[in-house]
């Protein structure tokens, strides 16, 4: 069996890299976009695709605030602020 030279291997590696770089870049879909699309269906909201970046941005900020709130440890018997009285 013929062994490939070190040079051939290196050329192939470069060729692979060039082919990869030449491939059109695929836009990575933000996982929140799937969340927004899935959430919109049961709410019967029709979200134009041009609105999605802004909605995503606002949702990211709100979820960051939510994470700060959720990180605060409260006892199991903590009552929410609004208390209903029958």
């Amino acid at each position: 069996m013929m062994r490939r030279s070190r040079k051939t291997k290196s050329v192939r590696k470069v060729a692979r890299t060039v082919r990869k770089a030449a491939k059109p870049a695929t836009v990575k879909r933000d996982p929140l976009d799937d969340f927004i699309a899935a959430g919109a269906r049961p709410l019967d909201l029709k979200i134009d695709k041009t609105w999605v970046p802004a909605v995503r941005g606002h949702l990211q900020v709100t979820l960051r605030h939510g994470a700060l709130v959720a990180a605060f440890k409260l006892p199991d018997d903590a009552e929410p602020a609004p208390v209903f009285k029958a």
């Binding site: 909201l45 909605v55 709100t62 939510g66 409260l74 009552e79 929410p80 602020a81």
Partner: protein, 460 residues
């Protein structure tokens, strides 16, 4: 009398120096001349105002008693019901709503005390706004520099009072919408305790945090209007069944004997040199050296943000389904995002709210009043999208309220007192324990009498 206070006008009308009709006509002329520059009014109810003024003059000539603010022109943010007008709440969508068949409770109470309603005021769409900009009606413009924001969402209220179009206006404050325009426009604003003043017959935003209150150019005028509007209202389930607690009789007691502290920590972080200078002047005038930390204020602001997003979205869900393209995109996209907020976060925020309330109320065992900046900066330019906060460039629109949100989150009463820095004013928050509006007003009066707080007259 185009810069006269409500108190001065009421005195002049009561003793016959001026007729209510003459005062009303002067206000209508001023609105006609200045509103094209300031864009504060969305409707003027001239016929109604003249009819009310004539009735007041007739009553006086017949020797009938006049109310404490007889003949004082005032205007209301356009989310207050005004009989005969659609309640716009700054939106395009509500223009197709039928006209209101009655006035909001607070409008009716001011008129019962003799004030004369002259119109409805511009505001950010559905009150989800700190800028005073409005895509449908145009931006409210700051009388101190018309290229700058009034702040919002009660932008027209701040602009109308600061510009001298009226001496008194009504606004609402969910996260800062009275205190932010007070700061940017350099006028006094009172956000009373949650549940103190009726919200009945207004267009809501976030039921958990919606408050209503007055704007004026003097502390005395704030107290006059506030006292006239107090009292239980069965039409608002949140309105507390408490007796009227007048604040005018104790106003002149000033800050004497009050334990006052400055809010440090979170409330210094991100403050501009102007906000810090305003705090310094106030601290020196009141000889306050004590500083305290409001615990978990940053988390409180986050919790207010989450609840606002979710409750606002719930309110507008049907409109988002059917008329999404009729919203201001900046408001619509925030509301859609709010509809996606997991319920567990909202519930946790409401649980945290109770915890935070208890911790903050403990502070009031040792102090009567806490001072904090109202806004991190003076009025930005209209259209400005970002600003630098604590060295980081941030979106402007949602972040102007960083210092107001942790306070309204638990419904504490606050007077925003304007400090007349040049070229632009900025306000400090005078914060008291629940139901102690009287103390916040006393401190504001002390600062006004010391010449530290005042509503500067703009050159327009």
């Amino acid at each position: 009398m185009d810069w006269a206070s409500a108190s001065e006008i009421a005195r002049a009308v009561a003793n016959g120096e001026r007729s209510a009709l003459a005062v009303t006509e002067a206000a209508l002329v001023r609105i006609k001349s200045l509103n094209p520059k300031l864009n504060a009014f969305t409707d003027v109810v001239a016929d109604r105002a003249r009819a009310k003024a004539r009735a007041l003059d007739r009553a006086r000539s017949e020797g009938q008693p006049l109310g404490p603010i007889a003949g004082v022109p005032f205007a209301a943010k356009n989310l207050f019901n005004i009989k005969g007008l659609s309640t716009l709440a700054g939106s395009k969508i509500n223009r197709s709503h039928p006209s209101a068949t009655r006035d909001a409770t607070l409008v009716a109470r001011l008129e019962a005390a003799g004030a004369v309603l002259v119109g409805a005021l511009n505001m950010g769409e559905y009150a989800y706004d700190f800028t005073g900009e409005n895509i449908h009606d145009g931006a409210s413009r700051n009388p101190h520099d018309v290229a700058r924001m009034t702040g919002g969402s009660s932008g027209g209220s701040g602009g109308a009072v600061a510009g001298g179009l009226v001496p008194l206006a009504l606004g609402s404050d969910t996260n800062g919408s009275i205190r932010v325009p007070s700061s940017f426009c350099g006028v006094y604003g009172l956000k009373p305790t949650y549940g103190r003043l009726s919200r009945a017959h207004t267009f809501p935003f976030v039921a958990s945090f919606d408050h209503f209150g007055p704007f004026a150019r003097t502390t005395r005028d704030l107290a006059l209007a506030y006292d006239a509007m107090q009292g239980y209202d069965a039409d608002d389930p949140v309105c507390a069944d408490r007796p009227v607690e007048p604040t005018l009789p104790t106003l002149e007691r000033g800050a004497e004997g009050l334990r006052i502290a400055l809010a440090g920590g979170y409330f210094r972080k991100g403050a501009s040199p102007e906000a810090l200078e305003a705090m310094k002047r106030v601290a020196e005038a009141l000889d306050v050296r004590r500083e305290l930390e409001i615990p978990e204020a940053e988390r409180a602001r986050s919790a207010a943000y989450v609840v606002t997003a979710a409750e606002g979205a719930a309110l507008h869900l049907e409109r988002l389904r059917t008329r999404a393209r009729d919203f201001d995109p900046a408001v619509r996209d925030r509301l859609i995002a709010g509809a996606m907020v997991p319920a567990v976060l909202v519930n946790q925020a409401q649980k945290f709210r109770r915890w935070y309330r208890e911790r903050v109320l403990e502070l009031f065992n040792d102090v009567d009043v806490i001072l904090a900046p109202a806004t991190p900066c003076t009025a930005p330019k209209i259209g400005q999208q970002t600003f630098v906060l604590d060295g980081i460039e941030m979106a402007l629109r949602p972040n102007i309220g960083i210092y107001t949100q942790p306070i309204s989150f638990i419904g504490l009463p606050v007077v925003a007192a304007p400090i007349p820095l040049t070229p632009l004013p900025i306000a400090v928050q005078i914060i008291a324990a629940p139901w102690r509006e009287d103390l916040a007003l006393r401190v504001a009066q002390a600062l006004e009498q010391a010449g530290v707080a005042s509503a500067p007259r703009p050159a327009i």
